[in-house]
Every structure is written in structure tokens, then in C-alpha cells.
Symmetry: C2
Subunit: 393 residues, 2 copies
């Protein structure tokens, strides 16, 4: 992308609110610089030049013209306030740069947002993008359980080479970023306001630590921009789109984390939810996602990797309790073994009656069990070998 | 069913091990009394009369003959031990009766087991069957959390008129039965051994209380029969088949409760699993059922009823946090509201710039917000109305 385009995208990031799809469509159709010139000309002339737009954007119908006119009215009131030089200086003060599509560190997944993709990212710290990124999100008002799970998952994901993406908020977000740092991995903080504003202020040190250990802090709005409520909601789409999968660690029935999960689902990215006690309101949103079929149940980092990873290469090894010698027996042999008394001996015929087998089957099975060291033959009959006492049920 | 059939089924319940599908097929084809006569004749003659079987059971191929011959060998070793009079006396001592298919209190769902259906149930207490029965099962070694959830669910299910079915074991089973009693509802205990044997002994008082408050204790094996390990596993199919749905409250990675859930799934009955902390091994089996898609996530009695109930009549009311006035606003109005300062006033044009709207839109929305009582007009500009302070995020 040319420097003109980069600069124009930086302007668009200040001019249009995050998620302004009319602006996104215009930039997609004309390129950022040309779209900006066209908007500036329309503002200067007090009227849009539709003919000039039809070259790059194709024929503009009534509906398109209405939407673009509404956009022009919005952008016009802000245009005079946009000062690229001031934004660049503010960025320079915190060593932030403008990252645009085509840059190596542009998270490729953002392109899946189409006309809702951000124009640019303002980035502090190490590269924003990662081939293996997973989002861990959740409630600010989390429980001690939720925070522990967030930290543990992030530590383990970081150690496995996964970048942990989250929103830098208190609670689960902070746990996820801290866990990634503890695991000596990379993490990406996507803020709703400018990257020069630590929001919330209590996480200021955490954000600095992220930047200074190779992680990245990014935002689609320029330095100085305020984190408004609608920007928080729009920010969630960036978290979902930057990661290969989104996992909700803990969330109330209605929550921003659930909105991130739904963004991921709409992008056809896998969504996971960590279950918790049904007695905890902090897990109600996770259970809702599971019940609604939006999310699959994940309980550890291996399962998160399986969710986010490519089929086959990242599959979880089938976990199972180690088989005891008893588990490897055929059902008839098990019944014969169970028909022996806990203490003392029993004859093969009596074993057959109790096990519901023929006497021949009982004798055959007792012979096999003897070879396995599970039973012994004594003068009074068959006994369970030491260390293989019976436990019913 | 005739008294002959009832008596013969009682004999079969002693003669064949639970789940003996050859016996089940024979009884299904010939009727219990005729099947028993044929077996007795074969034992007496030392050889089966295949021609006599072909009338009721149809042509018997090689494979069928081999399986029936193996069955005869099993049943022959037990036949002399079966004493119907002794079983009837033992049953009478604990006021137990024999319940067979066709009886009003025969749980109709058991018939879905086909040739694996029990021949009879030995029942103490109030009617075994219920139109609205749900199974709550889980680990013996449960956590305090699991026990609390089992009790709470059962109380609530009982109050809603559902019978709670479980296995009478320590832990979750006992919690489920106790909860049903606390909720003044009915409960069904399905034992792996005879109904005259309290197993485990620590639950003896609980079982007596069930019997004396209109609940039922049932088993497919006669009084005096020992609860062997294979009978525990077979018993699980009865729990699943007696209930309209099976819910696992807490279970380890490998567990009998999971086997009950799989029985229910094979019977195409709904299966639920209660989530718990991922840090608790006692919930690992539940999470496994959720991950494998065997169970759906259930967190309270209303969701269990929805699972077990008929579509429509028992659906859970869509739960949601109550909407605040803010939630009912269109997105543009919300952005305008968010563009007001937390303290102090702001002019409409400045609000438009911050909200990314046109000045006209900002004024329109501020007017609407004023009508809703969310903002006020002051000399210095627009302010947020008392009690509607801004919170970001």
C-alpha cells in the first residue's frame, strides 16, 4: 500500500466511527485517498459529485446515494477536527505506528470483516498479527475461579506458541494478558480508545509490560480518542476477527464477551466457552452460549488449541484414565472375577452359578484370570489374588 | 398378563443375568411360561427340542441354535437354585411385589429396551412408574457443589411434579433422592441387588424413607440377590429407560453415570449434563459428555424440564436481564447519549462531532432522550439526567 493510502487510512480512522460501513464501502470501492479527496470535494462544494464516484464505485442507485449523503453529513461535521499531524505526533510520543492492510503485521483475519473492517490499526509494541492467535475474553466482574482459569489457559496457550488476544479490561481480559506474559508468550491488547490512553487506568502497568515484552497494544481509533460505549462494542469485532477462535472464560447472562462470541460465530470462527458452577452468575453467559449451540465446551488449553487449530495437527490426544488389568478383560471374565468372594475361596461350579455362566466357561475364565495374576487356585477353591480385592459398583 | 406369566417372569428374573438378551428374545418370542417349560424340558432331556421351539419362535438358524444352546448351559447350572416360593416369602417380608409389563405401574419406557428389557421388577413402596420421570445420576465421590446441585435440582423437579429416578448410591444419587423427598415429590430408587438388601448400608434409612413416603424401590433381580459389578452396569440401563431424560450432575472422566447417559442416548432419550468448575475432576465426565455432543448443558430445573418435557408445553421462558431504558434506544441515540460528558454540559454540535452524527441527528436524538427523561437541557448545554450517569464499556 502506498504512503498516500496509509496516510488516508489514518485520516479515515479519525473521520468515521468504528464500524461505519458506508465509509468502509467507499474506501473499498475507491481506495482511501481517492475516497477522501471525493469527500473533501463534496464538503467544499456543498454537494456530492455522483458522476465522479461512478467511475470507481459503479452506478450509484438511489439507496446508495442516500446512504453516502448521510455519511457525508456525518463526516463533514468531523472533517475540520481531523489533524493528521497531531495524531502522528501523539503516536510518536508512545512509539505507535499506523498498520494497514498489506503490512506484514496486519492481522489477516480482519479482512473477513469486509466493509466493517478497520481502516488502520494504531499499534504499540511488537507485531500485532500472529498466525496462531486465540481470543480469551470474559467479564470484568469475574470470580476468583474465572480469573484463575483465564490465567492458567493463557499461560498454557502462550507456552504452546499461541498469541492471546483480549481487550485489556479488568477481570478475565487482564488475567488472559497476564497469563500470556507469565507463559512468556505474545499477547495482543485491542483497545476501544487511543493506544496512548491506558483504559482502565488500573491496567496501565500491564499494558506497558505487554508493549515492553514483545506484545502489542492496538486500536482502530487514533491516539487521544475516547473509549465510548459504542466503540467498546465495535472493538469486540476486532478481537473476534484477529483470532482463529474466541473463548469466553466467564460471562454474565448479558455481556460484552458474549457479543465478541457472536461476532466470532458470524465470522464462522470457532467459539468456545469455559463452564463453571451453575450456582455462579459469572458463568451464566458461558452456559447460555453452550445451550444455544454457539459455543463448544472447552476445559483446558489443549481443547482450546484443538478448537482454534487446524484439523488433525492440533487434535487433543484422547484422554482416558489408565486401564487397569480388569478393564482389559472380556465381560464374561469380569463377571467370573466378580463372582469370587472378597475374602476366602469359592469352587468353580459355584462361581458359574453366581456369574451366570456354564461351569466350563467359569473354569476357562478362571484359568485366563490366573494367567493374568488376578486369581489364585488354593486347596479350598479359587481366591482373588493379593492387590486385586473386589470393590462392588 | 396372566398369573402364570407373572410367576414365570419372576422365575426368569432369578434364572437369567440382567441383560441376558438370549433369554429376553426367548421370552419375547414364546412368552415367559412357555419359554420356561421349554427350558425345563431341555434340561430334563439333556437336549433342546428345536422343533417345539420353531412353532412360536419361527425357524431357528444355526446361529440362533448356538446362542440358545449357550443360554441353556448357563440357565441349567442355576435352575435348581431358583426357588420361587422362597423369593415370594422374602419379598413379602419387605412388602415387595412383582411388577410385569402390562401392569399400571410398569414403567412403559422399559419396553424400549427390547430383548434387554427386564422380565419383571421387584418393587417396594408406591407405584414405580410415572408419566413424568427424569433421572438424576452422578458420582458417588461427588463434591459439595455437586451434592448441593443434585439436591436443589431434585427439590425443584419434585415440586414441579416430576418423579426423580436414581440408583440409591452415595453422593449424587442420594442427593437426588433426598431432594425429591424434601420437595415432597416421588422418587424411584433402582437397585442393582435385591430390594430387601439396603446397598449401600449407609443409605438404608434413606431407602426406608422413600418407601414410606410414597416413593418406590425397585430391582430386576429377586430379593436376596447380590449387587455385583455387572449388575450395577446393567441396572444403569433401567434408570435410563425408566425416565424421559437423564441428567448427569457430576461425574468423573470414566464413570457409571456416563454409562447411564450413553444408555439414554442409545434409547434416543435426551441427555443433560450439569457443568461445573473445570478445575474439578468431579465434573470432567459432564464436560466430556458436553464436548462429545452426547449431552446438552443444563443449569436448573426449568432447563431439565424443557429437556425431558414435551416440546412447547415445558419450554423454558426466555430468561433475560430486565431491559433498562438505555437498552430500548436505537443505536444512534445510544451513541448520542454516550457523547455527553459524565459531569457538566455539552452543546449539540459538539455532541454530533463526538458521536459521529450530523448536528441534526444529534438534536433529534437529544430531543427523544429528553422525552425519555435520560437527558436535560441546561443553559450551558445538554446534561445527563440524574440517575443515568455514564459508565463506559
Amino acid at each position: 500500500m502506498t504512503e498516500d493510502e496509509r496516510d488516508a487510512r489514518a485520516v479515515w480512522s479519525a473521520l468515521a466511527e468504528p464500524g461505519d460501513e458506508v465509509a468502509g464501502a467507499l474506501v473499498q470501492a475507491c481506495g482511501a485517498a481517492r475516497a477522501l479527496s471525493w469527500v473533501d470535494a463534496a464538503i467544499a462544494a456543498g454537494a456530492p459529485d455522483w458522476a465522479a464516484l461512478e467511475g470507481p464505485a459503479g452506478a450509484t442507485g438511489d439507496r446508495t446515494r442516500r446512504r453516502v449523503s448521510a455519511g457525508l453529513a456525518r463526516w463533514a461535521v468531523r472533517r475540520a477536527r481531523v489533524e493528521p499531524a497531531r495524531d502522528r505526533e501523539a503516536a510518536a510520543r508512545v512509539a505507535a505506528r499506523v498498520v494497514v492492510p498489506g503490512d506484514a503485521e496486519w492481522p489477516a483475519g480482519l479482512d473477513d470483516l469486509g466493509v466493517a473492517a478497520p481502516f488502520a490499526l494504531w499499534v504499540r509494541g511488537g507485531p500485532a498479527a500472529s498466525q496462531r492467535a486465540v481470543a480469551l475474553v470474559g467479564a470484568r466482574a469475574c470470580s476468583a475461579y474465572g480469573e484463575r482459569v483465564a490465567v492458567d489457559l493463557a499461560v498454557d496457550l502462550a507456552r504452546r506458541g499461541w498469541q492471546v488476544v483480549s481487550g485489556g479490561a479488568y477481570g478475565i481480559d487482564a488475567g488472559a494478558h497476564r497469563g500470556a506474559l507469565l507463559g512468556e508468550g505474545r499477547t495482543l491488547v485491542v483497545l476501544a480508545g487511543g493506544v496512548d490512553r491506558a483504559y482502565p487506568v488500573g491496567n496501565a502497568r500491564l499494558l506497558e509490560e505487554v508493549v515492553h515484552t514483545g506484545g502489542a497494544v492496538a486500536s482502530e481509533v487514533p491516539p487521544g480518542a475516547v473509549p465510548t460505549r459504542s466503540r467498546f462494542l465495535q472493538r469486540n469485532r476486532l478481537i473476534a476477527a484477529s483470532a482463529r477462535a474466541t473463548v469466553v472464560v466467564e460471562a454474565a447472562w448479558r455481556s460484552g464477551a458474549a457479543s465478541t462470541a457472536h461476532h466470532a460465530a458470524r465470522l464462522l470462527r470457532p467459539v468456545g466457552a469455559v463452564p463453571g458452577p451453575v450456582t455462579s452468575a459469572a458463568s451464566a453467559g458461558c452456559h447460555r452460549l453452550l445451550r444455544d449451540g454457539v459455543a463448544v465446551c472447552v476445559t483446558d488449553a489443549a481443547e482450546v488449541v484443538e478448537l482454534a487449530g487446524e484439523a488433525g495437527t492440533d487434535a487433543v490426544a484422547e484422554a482416558s484414565a489408565p486401564d487397569g488389568p480388569r478393564d482389559r478383560l472380556p465381560p464374561v471374565a469380569r463377571r467370573v472375577l466378580d463372582a469370587l468372594p472378597r475374602r476366602g475361596a469359592r469352587g468353580a461350579d459355584e462361581v458359574a452359578v453366581r456369574a451366570g455362566t456354564t461351569p466350563g466357561e467359569a473354569r476357562d475364565m478362571l484359568g485366563l484370570l490366573e494367567l493374568d495374576g488376578l486369581v489364585r487356585r488354593e486347596a479350598a477353591g479359587w481366591v482373588v489374588a493379593d492387590g486385586h480385592e473386589q470393590r462392588p459398583g
